[in-house]
């Protein structure tokens, strides 16, 4: 099953590359550097998804005290941190040729950095508490509190004046992008979602094996 999921994910990622580089046209305003969007936007989608799963799994853990929910939250937070880091790095690389700077402390970039640091803290907290049950409980509370930052990140471009553009896809109302660019983005969204599921299932299994090895 894992091999099948891995294979499908790989095919999805290759399809995303073909769509992003072979099918989607060169953007007229930004040129080919806009193709970073097919990596940057799905990365932030996976980060939102991952931290949303952390929220749900943390609530489930506090209610039921099921270790599987704790493992899911842990695995999802780790993958979310990975993709948030990628979002920040690829955004910075995209920002240099389009904005003329690698970094600026505008609301979107600052709020996503805070999100990154909060979930990094979540992972550190897990490592700092020796008692597994207590560590899981503390992490679950932090996993719930940190999730309040997700809407702040997403809507920061509406609530404050930012250099970062407003969302092109994840927004209410009709889209403004050409259909072929939307199609390329959607293929990459699907591929990155599969990659998220693949990583989280493997990481959660690894956490179970680690617990069994310590017992």
């Amino acid at each position: 099953m894992r091999r099948l999921l891995g294979g499908v994910t790989l095919v999805g990622l290759l399809a995303g590359l073909v769509m992003g580089f072979g099918i989607a046209p060169r953007e007229t305003t930004q040129g080919n550097v806009q193709r970073i969007m097919y990596l940057h936007v799905p990365s932030v989608w996976v980060a939102y998804l991952a931290f949303g799963v952390v929220l749900v799994a943390s609530i489930a853990y506090l209610v039921r005290r099921a270790e599987s929910a704790d493992r899911l939250a842990h695995a999802s937070a780790e993958v979310g941190v990975l993709f948030t880091g990628l979002t920040i790095a690829t955004g910075s690389i995209w920002g240099k040729p389009t904005w003329g700077t690698w970094w600026t402390w505008d609301a979107r970039l600052t709020s996503v950095s805070i999100l990154f640091v909060m979930y990094l803290g979540y992972l550190l907290l897990r490592g700092m508490v020796d008692d597994r049950e207590r560590g899981a409980r503390f992490a679950a509370v932090l996993g719930i509190v940190a999730a309040f930052n997700i809407p702040l990140v997403h809507f920061s471009v509406y609530w404050w004046r930012t250099l970062h553009q407003p969302p092109s896809l994840m927004k209410p109302g009709p889209g403004t992008m050409p259909g072929i660019i939307v199609a390329a983005l959607l293929v990459n969204f699907a591929a990155f979602t599969l990659l998220y599921v693949y990583f989280v299932t493997r990481r959660a299994r690894l956490l179970r094996l680690e617990t069994e090895a310590e017992a």
């Binding site: 990596l39 990975l82 690389i93 094996l209």
Partner: protein, 57 residues
């Protein structure tokens, strides 16, 4: 506007390195733990030496 292919390659290259590194970490750690579990499982099995089970004359 210039195409800035160098920035595109940098972004995709960085993503590829990070994702492959994470996949390798998961793969290797899983293999380590599976091997350790198999060894522990073997050690816990009672010894099956036929000589020790033979009734004495």
């Amino acid at each position: 506007m210039r195409d800035n292919w160098g920035f595109v390659l940098a972004a995709y290259g960085l993503a590829a390195v990070v994702l492959i590194a994470y996949w390798r970490f998961l793969f290797r750690r899983e293999k380590e733990l599976e091997d350790a579990t198999a060894i522990r499982h073997d050690l816990r099995q009672p010894s099956r030496n036929p000589a020790s089970e033979r009734p004495s004359p």
